[in-house]
């Protein structure tokens, strides 16, 4: 008989050693958990949620990886209007973090802060654990942060390769290295799309909405980005194309990138995200693991800023 039958019952003789050697300790509970940036708080949100007490806050949930992107205490005002109040936000490599919130909650403003288009007034910006200053889009792209905006910012009159390398063309001596660029474009696209899109020398104006979205996302892959932020990638797309974009987003994270996805569609959010960050009137009211929450809770967070135990302490 297998003496470890009660302990998971894996096949062979192996489970005996496993059952004794490693008790059920989650990955994040190893020694490096105490060396992680959040050493002060060893109780994870997940523990707290599971016990039904406490407040879900913004700390990463029981993880041992360094977040790729880590913003703290971000304030942003436009004139007298405070758009972001003390916002904290993290995105981890290998994960899709969905950023949700009602219209005017500050999602796009936060994205502009992340991308350096409109830097925040006050706050801390950490990239892969170290404090950085992102004052312009160039700073962001140098770090490996790529933002795909709602309007995609593609040039319709140029072909796919030209768009992908716009402003960052490869050169060979005095001329452009078209062969290398073509080859790189092809590899980047074939890694993303289930169906290939024919020639990489097609003009972008001939592509469908979903294909354009893929081209915009491919830019991120091409430059070896670490963080990709997608602002409403599925808006204005049909169902089939949306599904394709969602699968692309997921694949991007599965390759180890940190992906931030803004979406209004709860199905899209639940379909691909690992974490959900909810903004309400310029405040981050919760950043939770998707596996721990329900649709109703997220809708409540979006519409009222709180849901049961989730949301800021009053």
């Amino acid at each position: 008989m297998n003496p470890a039958g009660h302990g998971g019952g894996a096949g062979g003789g192996e489970p005996v050693a496993r059952a004794i050697g490693s008790p059920a300790v989650p990955d994040g509970a190893g020694p490096d958990r105490y060396g992680a940036p959040y050493a002060a708080d060893t109780l994870t949100d997940h523990d707290r949620l599971a016990r039904g007490g406490g407040v879900a806050r913004w700390e990463p949930l029981g993880m041992s990886v360094t977040p790729a992107l880590d913003l703290r205490g971000v304030d942003k005002s436009f004139g007298s209007v405070r758009v972001l109040h003390d916002v904290a936000f993290t995105a981890c490599p290998g994960e899709v973090t969905a950023l949700v919130g009602d219209n005017g909650a500050g999602k796009t403003t936060l994205v502009k802060c992340i991308g350096g288009i409109d830097p925040f007034d006050r706050g801390e910006y950490r990239f892969e654990g170290r404090p950085v200053r992102v004052g312009s889009p160039r700073d962001a792209s140098r770090l490996g942060i790529e933002v795909v905006h709602q309007d995609l910012a593609l040039c319709e009159n140029l072909d796919i390769v030209q768009n992908l390398f716009l402003g960052r063309e490869r050169r060979r001596g005095l001329s452009l290295d078209e062969d290398t660029m073509e080859e790189m474009a092809r590899t980047a696209l074939s890694g993303l799309a289930v169906r290939t899109m024919g020639s990489v020398r097609q003009r972008v104006s001939t592509l469908s909405g979903g294909q354009r979205q893929t081209v915009a996302i491919a830019r991120a892959v091409l430059y070896d980005s670490k963080v990709v932020v997608l602002d409403e990638p599925a808006a204005a797309l049909g169902v089939a194309q949306t599904q394709q974009v969602l699968e692309t987003v997921r694949r991007l994270a599965d390759r180890g990138l940190a992906v931030v996805l803004i979406s209004h569609n709860m199905n899209d959010v639940f379909a691909v995200s690992d974490r959900i960050a909810a903004l309400y009137l310029g405040r981050m009211v919760a950043q939770v693991r998707t596996a721990d929450v329900t649709h109703r809770q997220i809708v409540e967070l979006i519409t009222s800023g709180a849901s049961g135990d989730l949301g800021p302490r009053r």
Binding site: A24, V239, N267, F270, T290, A291, H295
Partner: protein, 410 residues
């Protein structure tokens, strides 16, 4: 039981199989990469590739593209995709597919046909044979077919490939594998497997689940099938009927199922239920997959009946997944066939039920993914299954198949 160590011959056979399997699944690789990945030294790799090359299973060539490394470039070992192939058959309720798949998993050629739901099972055989013959005719003259498998939507007995039950596609007591093998006359047996089991295999080896050894695949056609990979192996159970997730009872006293029970997962989330909940008729001639996609599209466009139908189906599916997560603690659950569309259209419901219904520990890390192989999961799985024999003992199998008729090979 005492057993001596493996013989030299066993080790060689094992190494040959492992090397071939590596280039089959991971693609062409240089000798240097092979040596490192397989943990063998380069002279062993050289000897093994020489044997496989002589048998016509792989070919070696100089790496393509400009090599900028110093020194002599390591030769790249490529599978002989056009010379060594299998026949993969997918029997769906609405469609039939036959493909010639080369070593390395390349679909070389394929034939697809639509199947009417009320058509005669005898026609089925004819269509498959005609498709396969057309494919074999177009193969290169020196190409050799090393296996054939059929993915079938029903429960199949492992010992003799007998189809025991196909609620949505009844073939009576037709022995599909034997009949196909006889009519093809290629001298190879044709194995029959459950379609979703093959899908699980495919996603595990070539799809979303590469590297995930505990995986559950859910396949939606008219009904719901399932395949469970535990410790990297397909869970077949005592007689190979394992993984019938579609007949897990989620709603006691619920909708009647074709299997005779009530409230099976298949009965609550299957195509007919979805159509019925959305207030639509089953249109004869229209493939079920399109009908399901129509509902997802309608829900997205704001059709309330369609949206509610999807939400209800999503809740039952979530309940089923919650049970699976609790029982098997999978690293990944993959949704394929029509369930891909249903998952993407009702993920909020599925994951909400999962969040409240499954234990916190096993659900914490489980990844929910859509099938990376799209509509070809069953077909790719059938091809992988058909390759299994040649990958296990490459030289022996090839020698037997290449031997002229009548002669025996030791």
């Amino acid at each position: 039981m005492m057993k001596g160590g493996p013989s030299q011959e066993d080790i060689r056979r094992h190494n040959l199989g492992t090397l071939l399997r590596f280039v089959h699944l991971r693609g062409p690789a240089s000798r240097a990469v092979l040596a490192e990945s397989l943990g063998l030294n380069r002279s062993t790799i050289m000897a093994l590739t020489a044997d496989l090359t002589a048998a016509g299973l792989v070919r070696e060539e100089l790496p393509r593209g400009p090599g900028r490394r110093a020194g002599r470039p390591s030769l790249v070992v490529r599978p002989e995709s056009t010379r060594v192939y299998v026949l993969a058959f997918e029997v769906g309720v609405d469609r039939l597919v036959v493909a010639r798949v080369g070593l390395g998993g390349v679909v070389l050629d394929r034939r697809e046909g639509v199947r009417a739901r009320d058509s005669d099972p005898a026609d089925l055989l004819g269509v498959l044979v005609a498709g396969a013959r057309a494919l074999v005719r177009k193969a290169e003259r020196d190409a050799v077919c090393v296996g054939a498998s059929v993915g079938f939507p029903g429960t199949v007995r492992r010992s003799d490939d007998m189809i025991m039950f196909g609620p949505n596609l009844d073939v009576g007591d037709l022995r599909l594998g034997d009949a196909l093998s006889r009519r093809l006359g290629l001298g190879i047996p044709v194995s029959v497997c459950n379609d979703a089991n093959l899908g699980a295999l495919a996603e595990h080896e070539r799809g979303a689940g590469v590297g995930c050894d505990n995986l559950i695949y859910l396949h939606g056609d008219v009904g719901v099938g399932g395949g469970i990979i535990a410790h990297g192996r397909l869970l077949g159970g005592d007689e190979g009927y394992g993984g019938e997730i579609g007949h897990m009872i989620v709603n006691p006293g619920g909708r009647p199922c074709a299997c005779g029970s009530n409230g099976c997962l298949e009965a609550e989330v299957g195509e007919r239920t979805l159509l019925c909940l959305a207030g639509r008729e089953e249109i004869p001639g229209q493939a079920g997959r399109d009908a399901v996609r129509d509902i997802v599209a309608a829900a997205d466009a704001g059709d309330i009946a369609a949206r509610e139908a999807l939400q209800r189906v999503g809740k039952w599916l979530g309940l089923g997944v919650a049970n699976l997560v609790n029982v098997f603690n999978p690293g990944m659950v993959v949704f394929g066939g029509t369930l891909r569309d249903i998952y993407l259209g009702s993920a909020a419901q599925i994951r909400s039920v999962l969040a409240t219904g499954a234990l916190a520990a096993p659900r914490e890390k489980v990844k929910l993914r859509t099938a990376a192989l799209g509509d070809d999961t069953t077909l790719v799985g059938a091809a992988e299954f058909a390759f299994a024999e040649v990958l296990a003992d490459p030289l022996q199998v090839l020698a037997r198949l290449r031997a002229p008729e009548g002669s025996t090979v030791s």
